[in-house]
Symmetry: C2
Subunit: 362 residues, 2 copies
C-alpha cells in the first residue's frame, strides 16, 4: 500500500500504571505486550501494513527525548513532535500537515500507541479493508470491535447498513455513543449492532480536510497553515499554527460530525489496557486466576495465591504467598500493593504521594 501512512498517537501519560508508569515513562512505554512495549508492538503492527518508512509516531517533546526506551532505533525524522499536549484533534491535524507536505494524496491510519491487539494477521486484513473503503468510497473509516462483554469503559458505535457486497465487515456508522452505564451496555451488547469504539481511524488526506472544513473550520484552517509551514520548513510558523488548533478530540471535532463515516467490524482480542486489572485481556491468567507480566530479568513466584495481578521489572523476584485479589507492582525504585478493586482509584494515591513530598517517584 504505497500511499498508506500510519500515525501512532503516543502523547498520553496515564497514572493508572504507577509505579511502572511515570511522567517520563507513559503507559505505552511499558513492556505490557508480551515482552515488548505497547508502543513497539504498535509500531510493528502498523509497519507490517504501511511499511517502516511510512510509519510515524506523534508525541510530545518530553516523550520524544526518551522514545528510544520504548522503540529502540526509531528514526527521528518520522517522529512528529507536538509542541504541547492539546488532545487528539491537534495531534491528527499536525500529522496530516506534516505528511501532507510530503504526499498530498496520502491515506492516513491513525491509531493510539497503547492498545493491545491480537491476532496480528487478522488485524492486517481488516486494516487493508479499511484502506480500501477509505479510498474507494471516500468515507472516514473507524474500527468497531465486536464486544466481548458489556464494558462500561469504552464508547460504542451503533452500526447502520452494510456498505456493499464487495466490502465484507464494512458498515455505515449510524451513531457514536458515549461510555454507557452497565444497563445500557448490556442492552447494546444484546442488540448485536453495537461495537466498541477503538479510537482507530483511516481516511484519505483530502477527505479528512473536507470533513474538517465542514465540521471544524478552525481546525481545518490551522491544518492548512501547518501544511504550508511544513512545506516551507518553518518550525516557528508550524508551532504558531498548532497553537491555534482547538483543544479537542478528533472524535468530537471530526468523527461525530462527518456525514459519511464507515465502520469496519473487527473481531479481535483488543484492549486499551486501562489498568493493571485489564491485563488479562492479553495475558491469560493461571488456573487460580493470577496474571503475571514480567519484563526481562524479573521473576515472580505465586504460591497459594488466587486472582492476583503481578507486574515486575528489573532483576528481582516478586513472591506472593497466600494472597488474593491483589495488584502487586515492583520496579526498581518503587513497589505498589493494592487490592484489585482499588486499582482504578490510583489517582488518589498519586495525589497523596505528590502532596506528601514523594513527587520524585511520580
Amino acid at each position: 500500500m504505497p500511499n498508506l501512512h500510519a500515525v501512532i498517537m503516543a502523547g498520553g501519560s496515564g497514572t493508572r500504571f504507577w509505579p511502572a508508569s511515570r511522567a517520563r515513562r507513559p503507559k505505552q512505554f511499558l513492556p505490557l505486550a508480551r515482552g515488548s512495549s505497547l508502543l513497539q508492538a504498535t509500531v510493528t503492527r502498523m509497519a507490517a501494513v504501511a511499511g517502516r518508512e511510512r510509519t510515524w509516531i506523534a508525541t510530545n517533546p518530553r516523550q520524544a527525548e526518551t522514545l528510544d526506551q520504548a522503540v529502540a532505533g526509531f528514526p527521528r525524522e518520522r517522529v512528529i513532535v507536538e509542541p504541547e499536549a492539546r488532545d487528539t484533534a491537534p495531534c491528527v491535524a499536525l500529522a496530516a500537515a506534516v505528511i501532507g507536505a510530503h504526499d498530498a494524496d496520502a491515506v492516513l491510519a491513525v491509531v493510539p500507541a497503547d492498545h493491545l491487539i491480537e491476532p496480528q494477521a487478522h488485524f492486517e486484513t481488516l486494516l487493508q479493508r479499511a484502506v480500501a473503503v477509505a479510498t474507494e468510497h471516500h468515507m472516514i473509516v473507524t474500527f468497531g470491535i465486536r464486544p466481548r462483554g458489556p464494558a462500561t469503559g469504552y464508547g460504542y458505535i451503533e452500526r447502520g447498513e452494510r456498505l456493499d457486497e464487495a466490502s465484507p465487515a464494512a458498515f455505515r456508522v449510524a451513531r457514536f455513543r458515549e461510555k454507557p452505564d452497565l444497563d445500557t451496555a448490556r442492552r447494546f451488547v444484546g442488540a448485536g449492532n453495537f461495537a466498541w469504539n477503538s479510537g482507530m481511524f483511516v481516511w484519505t488526506l483530502p477527505d479528512l480536510l473536507t470533513a474538517m472544513a465542514s465540521g471544524a473550520p478552525e481546525l481545518a484552517a490551522a491544518t492548512q497553515a501547518m501544511q504550508q509551514a511544513a512545506r516551507a520548513g518553518d518550525p516557528q510558523a508550524l508551532h504558531t499554527a498548532f497553537a491555534r488548533c482547538p483543544k479537542t478530540s478528533i472524535d468530537f471535532a471530526v468523527m461525530e460530525r462527518a456525514p459519511r463515516v464507515a465502520m469496519i467490524e473487527a473481531d479481535l482480542a483488543w484492549s486499551d489496557v486501562g489498568s493493571f486489572t485489564s491485563l488479562d485481556a492479553v495475558h491469560p491468567p493461571d488456573a487460580r486466576g493470577n496474571v503475571t507480566v514480567l519484563a526481562e530479568g524479573a521473576r515472580a513466584v505465586v504460591k497459594d495465591a488466587r486472582d492476583c495481578v503481578v507486574y515486575g521489572e528489573g532483576r528481582r523476584l516478586v513472591a506472593l504467598f497466600g494472597t488474593s485479589d491483589l495488584v502487586v507492582v515492583a520496579v526498581d525504585d518503587a513497589v505498589l500493593v493494592c487490592p484489585k478493586d482499588r486499582s482504578d482509584d490510583l489517582k488518589k494515591l498519586i495525589e497523596h504521594l505528590r502532596e506528601s513530598g514523594h513527587g520524585d517517584v511520580l
Copy 2:
C-alpha cells in the same frame, strides 16, 4: 565490672524474615532495631556493662566473613568462630574455653544476638544484679521476662522463693517449662509466678564448669580440651575438641539440670522478634495498626491501609493503598507480599522457592 565478659551468640539464620534475611544475612544482621541491626544493638547494650574490650561475638565461619555488614569495625580478635553450627551448648563451651584461656575467673553473660530489649538503662541495672547474684551466690542466673500476655512461642520459667533481701527481683528457679499451649500459657500468666525464658544467662566460669561436669560430662571434657588448645594456640586441637561437643542446647545441657539456678525477674519490653508480625513489640503501630520498619534510604507510604507490616530497604518507596492485614517486604532483589496470618508459615514458601529453581534469592 572488670571480670564480666559478654558473649553474644550470633550463629542463627532464620527463614522467617525472608526476603530480608538470607543464608548469608541472618535475622541479627537486619536493621530491625530502630535503624541499627539487632546484633549492633546487642553489642552496644552488652558493651555498656561489660566494656567494649570484653564483648565477644560467637558465630559461624560464613557469618564471620560478613560481620562488618552488621557491626562495622568489630575487632576480629573478639570474634569466636564456631567451626560448624552445633546448637548453643557447644557455642557456650567454646566461648568459655576461649575466654577462660585469658581469664579463668571470668564472669560470662551469654545472650542471643537477635533480641530487642528496652529500656537500655533498666537492662543494665538488671544485668549488674545478675552478675552480683552469680558471683556472690555461685548460682547460674537466668533472665525471666515478666509476661505481657499468654505467649505460646516462648518457654516459661516457674520461679521459686525470693533469693534474699539484698537481691531484689532475684528468685530461685523452681522449674523450666516448655513452650505451652494457649490454655497452659493463660494459666501461667494468671498464676503470676511464671516468666518468659529469655535465653540470656550469667555465670562464673568455675560455676559453669562445675554445672557442666555434673550435668553434661562430655561437654565439660570437651570444654577443658578446648581451653587447653586455646591456651596453647592450637586451632586444630580446638576444632577437634569442638567436634566432640554433644549437639544440644545450653538449656538442656546445663540450665535444666543445674541444682542452683536463679532468675532475675525483668520487667522489660523484650521480644525475640520471631517474625515480621512481632515487630510491633518495639516499633509502635500507627493509629490504624500499621507497623513500618525502614532501613536508611527506604520510604513507605501507607494510604487507607490498616494492620499491615511494611519492611523496606534500599532507595525505594513502598506504597500500600487500601490493603489490610498484609506483610510487605521489599529489598533490592526480592519482594514478598503475604497475609499476616501466613507469615509464620514462610518455610513453605522458602521450600517452594528452593525446589522451583530460585535458590539464589534464599
